[in-house]
Symmetry: C2
Subunit: 320 residues, 2 copies
């Protein structure tokens, strides 16, 4: 357990939203706020909006940001825990380079700031407070726009030389289709929401029938969110069903490979798609995983993340 | 570093040979002996031969087995470190069930005996004394009859719930051919020496030309050893070349997946095939690995095991 250290802030920085919480010493949420991630203004603009969101959550909790014991932030891209610099966050506007996010927020909010990887921070949160509480070692599989991951081994985050946990880039089919990062046949190429959308468009262009894009237009969205996939499935959309099955299969095979290498106590499925489809997909993922396990009679527990929408931000607060 | 504890014995128990060493406090070899693994007599018969081999190495070292600080043994199958029982060692004659190898050897040789997994023990040896000496975290890839593996993370063997390190059962091609354990498209199905031999026979039966089996007959062997593969390659045998390339490709893809998950300091390639082909195959494996890496600009070191034929037995002595 990370030291509690009184009242703290936590921020989950995503490509579409910024979620902030203020939690007490036992990690109960005292206040929270959510804002859209700005699409303009570069890293400094995003930084200002993060500060505003955290301030809003502190107001809801009736504390001054200056009185917080510290603020943790889970960030996409390469988040350097020791320097607080975030680099190559390609999901964020104008953030191809580096930005001293920790330093900038710290002087803005008057409290120490610690920066971590968004997925690792969310996995840590589930490990300490959610679906992973009873285990010592878990693999977190974060199924969302991409497919991320995080490892906790014997109670401690495993970062390797800094880039460990890239579950989504485990190969499931050599020579298979490419993910957005250009790797052939990795889990993300099949199961990432962005890849699934590219596949859906490809099938649509070939004349296949699907309601996915109609539903997207009806809801005035510009991409196939997990909610849109869910609606299409409820309408019995065959292409949506096919592509979700394909994703479940890839996740199952990738999880089997990860288990064969690490043999953890448990695998935790989180992320936007994971949260939306856990009930339906977990049994399917396990079914596809099982034939590839080295020790199929004794698989680890496979669980859905349990902290919900605030999990990433609460996990970030554990950085302090 | 495992405590040195004076003069110790180490045994590498394989399906074809038993290698024993006696080492001093600084792990220098004082004596060694090698015998064929008996093909009859069941676990008790193998146990007796192990004791005889260790005794022979102790004579060469001019010490009594009773004066050894302890004896470590790396065993195939499921080697229980706490009980000394070895189960399901299918490469050994009549060893489908369980046998108290530790207890039996200890009473026979008059010294405490510790049992460990053969591949993990060999990887530990390379980590502490060989190619992995300068690193903190390594993945060992043991390319032999099968493809085994072992992990050392921050200086300690990582066993998970007991079955970690099964690198050979990482999937490289969903829906691909099966390994001897029945798993589809795993590294071992392409690269294990036994799988390669099955492939070679299949191609031969289809009328493809190869010198592999002629060379095997000339050398009065009943299987395609790594030496036979090497001779066939020297003769320009096209089938041998094709199957070795296929193995290198699978190893490269599997290693990339393992790196993406764990991001270790180094990968060490060992095992009978690894030792024989490291010079030729390491660059090929790296070439096939690279396109699948999440962080291709900063790959871990890829090294050949450096302790040679005695590595497994020396690693076993580190169990004490």
């Amino acid at each position: 357990m990370t030291a509690s250290g009184g009242t703290r802030g936590g921020i989950d920085l995503g490509g579409t939203k910024i979620q902030a919480v203020v939690v007490d010493a036992s990690n109960q949420v005292l206040g929270q706020a959510r804002r859209r991630t700005p699409t303009e203004g570069g890293p400094a603009g995003v930084g200002a909006e993060i500060a505003a969101t955290l301030r809003e959550s502190a107001e809801a909790a009736k504390v001054a940001t200056e009185s917080l014991a510290g603020i943790g932030i889970g960030s996409p891209g390469d988040a350097n825990e020791s320097t607080g610099v975030v680099s190559g966050a390609r999901n964020l506007p104008g953030w191809e380079g580096s930005f001293p996010l920790g330093e900038s927020l710290s002087s803005e909010l008057g409290a120490p700031v610690r920066v971590g990887n968004d997925v690792q921070v969310a996995v840590d949160g589930e490990f300490h407070l959610g679906a992973g509480r009873e285990f010592e070692s878990v693999i977190g599989v974060w199924w969302g726009t991409g497919v991320g991951g995080g490892l906790v081994l014997e109670g401690r985050p495993w970062l390797g030389r800094g880039a460990a946990g890239e579950f989504g880039h485990i190969v499931v089919r050599r020579g298979g289709p490419r993910c957005s990062a250009g790797h052939e046949g990795c889990v993300e190429a099949y199961a990432g929401r962005a890849s699934m959308e590219r596949w859906a468009r490809k099938h649509l262009d070939k004349g296949e029938k699907t309601k996915l894009f109609e539903i997207m237009a009806e809801h005035e969205r510009d991409r196939l969110t997990s909610g849109i996939w869910e609606r299409a499935l409820k309408h019995g959309d065959k292409l949506a069903e096919k592509l979700l099955k394909r994703a479940e299969k890839a996740l199952g095979v990738g999880i089997a490979s990860a288990i064969n290498l690490l043999d953890p106590d448990a695998v935790i499925l989180g992320g936007g798609m994971g949260a939306r489809f856990a009930e339906r997909s977990l049994p399917e993922i396990e079914r596809h995983m099982s034939p590839y396990l080295f020790a199929p009679d004794d698989p680890p527990e496979i669980r859905a993340a349990s902290l919900g929408d605030l999990g990433g931000a609460i996990g970030a607060a554990l950085l302090v």
